[in-house]
């Protein structure tokens, strides 16, 4: 088998069997990189009994490192505790590039720090937006500043996310690449027979029912739309704390037959719920990159959404301000342009606009750029940390010096040659 061109280690706390946007992104990106001929290994923490090495489709090797999650799927931050295992994995798989995901993941930050100490190339992808004003965000931004002070390249999933990351970490904009997420268009196909939109128009909402996703806006918008258009019905999938408010709204306006609440919808059934509708409604108050809209567009639904400029072309989405009146106006406009929508044509367009293969190719370019960056020794790197802040800079320098010393100690106790290298097994065809 030909020697793989790149050997990538993806690190994050968030991976399957947990389900979400970051997990999906890592999985699809890894699969497409494997198809391009590279070697990809994923490192994450143990989930329940699932601990050790597992192989997924296409030969994707996943290390479920035996650390228990501490809070919100994050491992307990021990700063130096992960150094031995990260070193072993990096040496064993002969990794060349380490790619960390999600600023909220402690495992990612620690692994990137150790990888930098040991001289590997490091790339980071940020998937969420953060504010600047509350205590949690301030600390998170400081940690991010530490990690990104010494990074080779960074990737963000949208232009808003790029601006946000540059402001939070003080990174030069030229180092940040904008590579969006994509959607698996093979899985999200429109229905063979489109439900007729003459007598009943169905509006689908699938999201977690929390404040951030605009569930309160839904409570205001749904009764108004039902009042204006007697032939519209709503299908609401998803669960959360605001579920109670939606039920109350149904009772108050007697909309039990016009608003159907499905509860939590597993990801495998999302497509079957989407194809029953004509319009997809997204009311989230803030979103780094909304994949739900892409899935809906891939199934041939017209989207009405808030705050997600630049994700879909203007004829596939109707944008609205996060204000009930404006959203009702947007839904009216969507209903009026609904007859001109052709789901098959929309699906085919989506195949060209977004694909994971394209994302993988662009990420490959980022890896090549990262590999071309010069390798700096410890003293030069320390000067970059000093600019992080009056006190923080010195603390960060101390942390990196101790990490370096611990690495040298480990090299003494267990020399590099003693770590057995894993053979590359060819899984494809």
């Amino acid at each position: 088998m030909a020697e793989p061109k790149l050997r990538v280690l993806m690190v994050s706390d968030f991976f399957f069997p947990n389900f979400g946007g970051v997990e999906n992104h890592i999985y699809y990106l890894s699969q497409c990189l494997l198809n391009l001929g590279h070697k990809v290994v994923v490192m994450t923490h143990a989930y329940g009994n699932r601990s050790g090495v597992r192989y997924m489709t296409g030969g994707l090797k996943v290390y479920y490192v035996p650390w228990r999650p501490f809070t919100m799927q994050n491992t307990f931050p021990t700063v130096y505790g992960t150094l031995p295992i990260v070193r072993t994995i990096l040496k064993r798989e002969r990794i060349t590039v380490v790619h960390g995901h999600q600023a909220f993941s402690t495992l990612c930050h620690e692994a990137l720090m150790h990888a930098r100490t040991m001289g590997y190339r490091v790339v980071f992808t940020d998937h969420s937006l953060y504010g600047f004003a509350d205590v949690g965000s301030i600390h998170m931004n400081k940690v991010l500043q530490f990690t990104l002070a010494d990074i080779d390249q960074a990737i963000c999933v949208s232009h808003t996310s790029k601006e946000n990351t540059v402001l939070r970490s003080g990174l030069a904009p030229g180092k940040v690449f904008m590579i969006p997420n994509a959607v698996d268009t093979a899985m999200f196909k429109p229905a063979d027979v489109r439900p007729s939109s003459d007598d009943v128009i169905t509006i689908v909402v699938i999201s977690r029912l929390v404040y951030r996703k605009g569930a309160d806006l839904l409570v205001e918008v749904i009764p108004e739309v039902c009042r204006l258009y007697p032939n519209v019905r709503f299908v609401v999938g998803g669960d959360g704390p605001k579920h109670v408010r939606l039920e109350e709204m149904r009772e108050k306006h007697s909309l039990q037959d016009r608003v159907e609440m499905l509860g939590a919808v597993p990801h495998s059934r999302v497509r079957s719920v989407l194809v029953t509708g004509h319009i997809f409604l997204n009311s989230s108050l803030t979103e780094a990159f909304c994949i739900a809209i892409l899935e809906a567009a891939s199934c041939g639904l017209l989207t009405v959404s808030t705050r997600v400029g630049g994700v879909l072309p203007d004829d596939m989405v109707v944008l609205a301000e996060p204000d009930p009146d404006d959203m009702v106006r947007a839904i009216e406009k969507a209903i009026s342009i609904l007859p001109s929508i052709n789901p098959e044509e929309m699906h085919n367009r989506m195949k060209k606009l977004y694909s994971w293969q394209d994302v993988a190719k662009r990420t490959e370019i980022v890896y090549d750029r990262a590999l071309k960056c010069s390798n700096r020794n410890l003293l030069e790197r320390l000067s970059r940390f000093l600019s992080c802040g009056a006190w923080a800079g010195k603390v960060f320098c101390m942390v990196m010096i101790i990490d370096y010393l611990l690495w040298r100690l480990l090299q003494l106790l267990q020399p590099d040659d003693d770590i057995e290298e894993a053979p590359d097994i060819n899984f494809c065809n």
Binding site: S158, E163, F177, I179, R212, R245, V311, P324
Partner: protein, 314 residues
């Protein structure tokens, strides 16, 4: 030497290469894959265009901040006066009858101020309700006075003074200086958690101090005095401030003068400390706040969570 060889003209220069087709304009969108002619890390001048800096920052004026800080020093004086009364009662310089007289006069004065400054209180029914509430309150205190007297008999004096001091400090920290926890009925804002905690701390401190007194009459008088001041003084001060700022200033200065006089009569060192505290609160802290405002850097932009324009009524 001739450069032109006979019969041979120099070959014509090759035609210039056609200019490369102009690359399409870069669009700030996420769809469509990589844009031709641009790298993924291309940053143009619209980067950070929608960022807004320091949109909600209030520009402060030194004189206004100093005037506002007078409310804080006024309340510090009130608390200092209460502590003085406690001190004198514990040393038996103030006896029961004078304390009771003090209580009654304060009650009458407070009522008068409220009547004069608040227009809503003029209805007779409301007045009658207040009188009945106060009667119940006073009777309740009188009945419970024996309980308070024996409450802390088994606890040593040092613990009592330590706890009282810490509770008073807690009370001062968490106090709501801009308004009043006890409001007239029909007020708009409900009291916050920290102001309720501060009221509770002051009440418990009063109970602890009262429990060290020799007789039931003393206990009743001191409890009534402390509770009156801690519960209703903020309301009276707030009404005066709302009514007229000049009156508020005059009231504050009078209180400060009174407090300084009595603290000086008590002990020189406490007087100096109190003076320093008032100067720090009124002069040094406003100046410091204004200086620190220069460092304020507030960032807003499209990444912020949208604010809902309607109230969520549960």
């Amino acid at each position: 030497m001739d450069n032109n060889l006979a019969g041979d003209s120099p070959p014509p220069p090759p035609p210039p290469p056609p200019p490369p087709p102009p690359r399409p304009k870069w669009r700030k969108v996420a769809y469509g894959g990589m844009q031709i002619g641009y790298d993924d890390n291309y940053t143009d001048e619209t980067f950070l265009e929608e960022m807004v800096m320091n949109a909600n920052v209030v520009r402060r004026d030194l004189l206004k901040v100093m005037k506002d800080s007078i409310s804080i020093s006024q309340y510090l004086c009130i608390v200092a006066l209460v502590v003085l009364v406690w001190f004198h009662t514990l040393q038996s310089s103030l006896d029961e009858t004078s304390l009771l007289l003090l209580d009654l006069s304060l009650l009458a004065l407070g009522f008068l101020v409220l009547l004069l400054t608040e227009e809503k209180m003029l209805s007779l029914r409301l007045l009658l309700r207040y009188v009945t509430n106060i009667t119940f309150f006073t009777t309740g205190l009188y009945v419970l006075a024996p309980v308070y007297q024996t409450l802390t008999r088994s606890i040593s004096s040092d613990s009592i003074w330590a706890v009282t001091v810490s509770l008073l400090l807690l009370h001062l920290f968490l106090h709501d200086y801009s308004g009043s926890t006890i409001r007239a009925p029909g007020a708009l804002k409900s009291p916050s958690l920290t102001s309720c905690i501060s009221v509770n701390a002051s009440v418990v401190a009063s109970v602890f101090v009262a429990s060290r007194l020799p007789s039931r009459g003393h206990v009743f008088a001191v409890m009534l005095f402390s509770l009156q001041v801690f519960l209703f003084a903020p309301l009276v001060a707030y009404c005066i401030k709302k009514f007229s700022f000049g009156l508020h200033l005059g009231f504050s200065f009078a209180l400060m003068g009174l407090t300084m006089y009595y603290v000086y009569a008590l002990h020189r060192l406490f007087f100096v400390l109190f003076l320093v505290l008032v100067v720090v609160v009124n002069v040094v802290c406003p100046y410091w706040l204004i200086r620190m405002q220069e460092y304020k850097f507030e960032i807003n932009g499209p990444w912020d969570e949208a604010k809902l324009c309607f109230d969520i009524t549960d």
